[in-house]
């Protein structure tokens, strides 16, 4: 019978649902929808009149069209390159069994956990103009100048491919894991060779996973800001163009660019939703033991292990460089291949100089505030989505994913527009320039992440438990506090941890909204780079990565031990 969600709610239940849903939806409309509508309105307004002149300006300016085109082709090329790295890597780790397969297989997914800005500066230290690899080639060939410069489109593409392959890697792995080993065995028994099976069976079955991964890379690449910002030079994509317009005071143009970027992302989201089923099919994948090719010969095994390790090391090289550079004191590295002196000077500097230490505290504080708000808000929102039926429910679900689909730049421009004026009757207050604007931005950007975690946690436990509590005389608050909350806590906490860690390293929205008095770690890293204090920047990057790892280790233990597995 129909359990969980009821078809016709009683009068008391309807009142109760409304009392919860109305504030939740209003808050989402105010913080997620309204700022974007304001941006849209600003883009078609000039001196109080409706006009399309800003769009005409956009379409008739070469630089603007070039940025739009750059965003699109960079994204398409990123999809192709990331696929070329990620898919073979997944097939390699899925198909062969060799010593160290699990460890290296897990390490290969690591880049997705690091904040993009940290990844970007890691590249700078490895293959930038004075990077280790660059110097190595220069010294080996006896060149007078660096053999290449890490600027413009090739640099951006290189970084994108190097970090976004993880989507293809993980989705392909999940797709392969879901694939019934019997299918490939059936094909083999019909006389198909290995390549024929790959071409006619494996790849077609992987298409849903690959499509989903491609759309995700496309969206991530369209939204990408760190790499184009640091390496772009004169080469602009839409996200950096928005930043430039905003900073130079061309606000109307910034609005048009924001609308363009948001539209592109929403179109991609629309396509992605059409593949939603495929995506769920992939993500839900169980780790069923697949038919892995067991290599007998010890020589070949060693070779495979070396190849796997080498491949992964190559992918993690930038991050290892970052750690290395963080131990290099000022002036400890000039023209040599590798630094000659190592010390803890940069780390001591972080602790001693309050100017350097403050951003760490700021980020921790702002991320904690945003995450606390995420936890409370998303718990209620997820409860409504999973347990109640009401007319606005589909809209609530859409509003909860929307911030995920919108690039950080778009969200930041929306907030900067909405909260720079004081019109309380229009829901606008001056928050720009205050401490509160960044926690607010982090809160909004992380709503989808935490809501999704809470929604799946609610789906995992039997609604009968809530009914049992009600039949024992417990009111709604008691039922939530004593039954629902303890049972969703592991899932909710996992989502909260990810949100906290993301907020800790947030850069894209921060650079548009930060105030000097409460600047976060990412902005300080950038300031260090600008001041050519590479060691300091690297040390901050490492501290950020360590903080995140620490949160995962401590939090992970809490999530596992806190409560046993929910539901029967």
């Amino acid at each position: 019978m129909t359990r969980g969600r009821r078809t016709v709610a009683s009068a008391w239940e309807r009142r109760h649902t409304a009392a919860l849903a109305v504030p939740v939806i209003l808050l989402l409309v105010w913080l997620v929808l309204y700022p974007n509508l304001l941006v849209l309105a600003e883009s078609v307004r000039e001196g109080g009149r409706l006009t399309l002149s800003h769009y005409a300006d956009f379409l008739s300016t070469r630089a603007e069209l070039a940025a739009l085109w750059a965003s699109v082709w960079i994204s398409l090329a990123s999809v192709a390159l990331a696929g070329l790295i990620g898919v073979p890597l997944a097939m390699f780790f899925h198909g062969f069994d060799f010593p160290g397969r699990r460890v290296f297989g897990a390490l290969a997914a690591l880049p997705v956990l690091l904040p993009p800005l940290v990844g970007v500066i890691a590249f700078l230290f490895l293959v930038g103009e004075s990077g280790i690899l660059t110097r190595g080639v220069q010294l080996a060939l006896g060149l007078e100048r660096a053999p290449w410069r890490l600027v413009g489109a090739p640099a951006i593409l290189f970084v994108h491919a190097y970090t976004m392959y993880v989507y293809f890697y993980l989705f392909t792995l999940a797709g392969l894991a879901r694939m019934d080993a019997g299918i490939t065995e059936a094909a083999a028994s019909l006389g198909a060779g290995r390549w024929r099976i790959m071409r006619t069976v494996t790849l077609p079955l992987l298409i849903p996973s690959l499509t989903a991964a491609a759309l995700l890379v496309f969206m991530t690449s369209m939204a990408s800001f760190s790499a184009p910002y640091v390496f772009g030079g004169g080469f602009r994509v839409l996200s950096t163009q928005i930043y430039a317009s905003k900073m130079s005071g061309a606000l109307s143009m910034a609005m048009v660019e924001t609308v363009m970027l948001a539209s592109a992302s929403l179109v991609a989201l629309w396509f992605l939703r059409r593949y939603e089923e495929a995506r769920e099919y992939v993500v839900v994948g169980k780790g069923v033991a697949p038919a892995r090719h067991r290599v007998r010969s010890p020589g070949v095994r060693a070779l495979l292990a070396a190849a796997g390790a080498g491949w992964v090391l190559l992918l993690l090289l930038p991050h290892l460089t970052l750690v290395l550079v963080s131990f290099v004191p000022d002036g400890g590295w000039t023209t040599q291949l590798l630094p000659e002196r190592y010390s803890l000077e940069n780390y001591r500097g972080l602790l001693r100089d309050p100017r350097l230490f403050a951003p760490i505290l700021n980020s921790l504080q702002m991320a904690a505030l945003a995450t606390a708000a995420n936890l409370v808000f998303c718990f209620v929102a997820a409860y409504l989505v999973v347990r109640r039926s009401f007319r606005g429910r589909p809209w609530l679900a859409v509003l909860l994913v929307l911030p995920w689909a919108l690039p950080g730049t778009v969200i930041a421009i929306g907030l900067a527009t909405t909260f720079s004026a004081n019109q309380p009757w229009a829901g606008r207050f001056v928050l720009v320039g205050t401490f509160w604007i960044l926690p607010l931005a982090y809160f909004i950007r992380n709503i989808p992440l935490v809501a999704q975690a809470a929604i799946s946690a609610f789906r995992r436990f039997d609604p009968t438990l809530e009914e049992a509590a009600a039949s024992l005389g417990a009111g709604w608050m008691t039922t939530m506090r004593r039954v629902a909350l303890p049972l969703v806590t592991p899932g909710l906490a996992a989502g909260g941890l990810l949100a906290f860690v993301t907020a800790l390293g947030e850069f894209v929205a921060s650079i548009l909204l930060y105030t000097p008095r409460s600047r976060p770690i990412s902005i300080e890293i950038l300031a260090q780079l600008r001041a050519f204090d590479f060691g300091g920047a690297a040390a901050l990057g490492v501290v950020l990565a360590l903080l995140m790892a620490g949160v995962f280790v401590i939090g992970g233990r809490f999530v596992r031990e806190g409560v046993g597995t929910p539901g029967g």
Binding site: M1, T2, R6, T7, V8, A9, S10, A11, W12, E13, D462, T464, L465, E467, A468, A469, A470, S471, L472, G473, A474, G475, T478, R482, V483, P486, L487, V563, G564, T565, P566, G567, G568
Partner: protein
Amino acid sequence: MSLELRGLRKRFGEVVAVRDFSLELEPGELMTLLGPSGCGKTTALRLIAGFETPDAGRITFRGADVTNRSPQKRGFGMVFQSYALFPHLSVFENVAFGLKAQRREASELGRLVEAALVRVDLPGYVDRRVQELSGGQQQRVALARALAVEPPLLLLDEPLSNLDASLRERTRTELRSLLKGLGITALYVTHDQEEAFDLADRVAVMNDGELRQVGTPEELYDHPHDVFVAGFVGRANLLPGRLESPGGGGELSVRLVGDALWPVDPEGTSGLEPGQAVQVVVRPEDLELVPEGHHASELVGVVSGRAFRGARIAYHVTLADGSVVEVEADRRSEARGGRIAVRPRLHARVHVYPAAE
């Protein structure tokens, strides 16, 4: 009157799960709601508990209309099929849950929880985690938890269906004596006829969202209101026939295949006319096998199978038109193959119902 349901109706999309449902429970009565799966009995129970709201109808408890009252304000205890024990709480905390919601004194809790556990024969289990318990123990904790708050009405939704057969039978005997000892009014949903009869003072039979008959097990068995109840409660033979009035008076008989004429149980024949086509229902133990004797009441056929039922044996007799009649006989009786006659025993109840259109 304790609980009174008047004209309840509940629709899920296109499916009407419960329709025109009226039922009354006496104080202290133990009633089972019996029906095949999907007949709407669980929905009916959830309407009473307050987890669903009826589209039409009224629910009254001790004279007060509770139709729109929330489940927690109704205060009816409930035992769920899945037990719905809180997995994150210990046995003690599970049983104390309702007491805490009632804001009972902390000093009382220990005593009340222990008393509730003693009642279900689980003393000393307070500190266990519920996952450590066996299915039968979990079922008892669920019962103790529901009873601890001393609810004025207890609702049970197939609470024994997840136990194995022997434990199920033992538990239901204990359950009945426990509930009767407490004098609590209870409604128990099940699809198992034996369980329903074992437990209940009265049984309410449901099918297709409708209540078909309410009565004691004996009433249901001996005087089923319709073909469904007759077939669902115990074993029954279904034969087509046509009513006759051989004596010309009020007494009716029924003419069966091969011209056999059987006297009809006078109860439940009101509204039926001679000449009307009817469905004949007769239980296997109300029939007997005799050598063919060309008597008017004899149905002639051949024994086509037999099934051993312990003290009794069931014979399957195939009639001339191919239909099969089941006859239950003493196990010492011996029926060989070949032609044989079936006839009602003395005082047999031959029920007739209007034939379906």
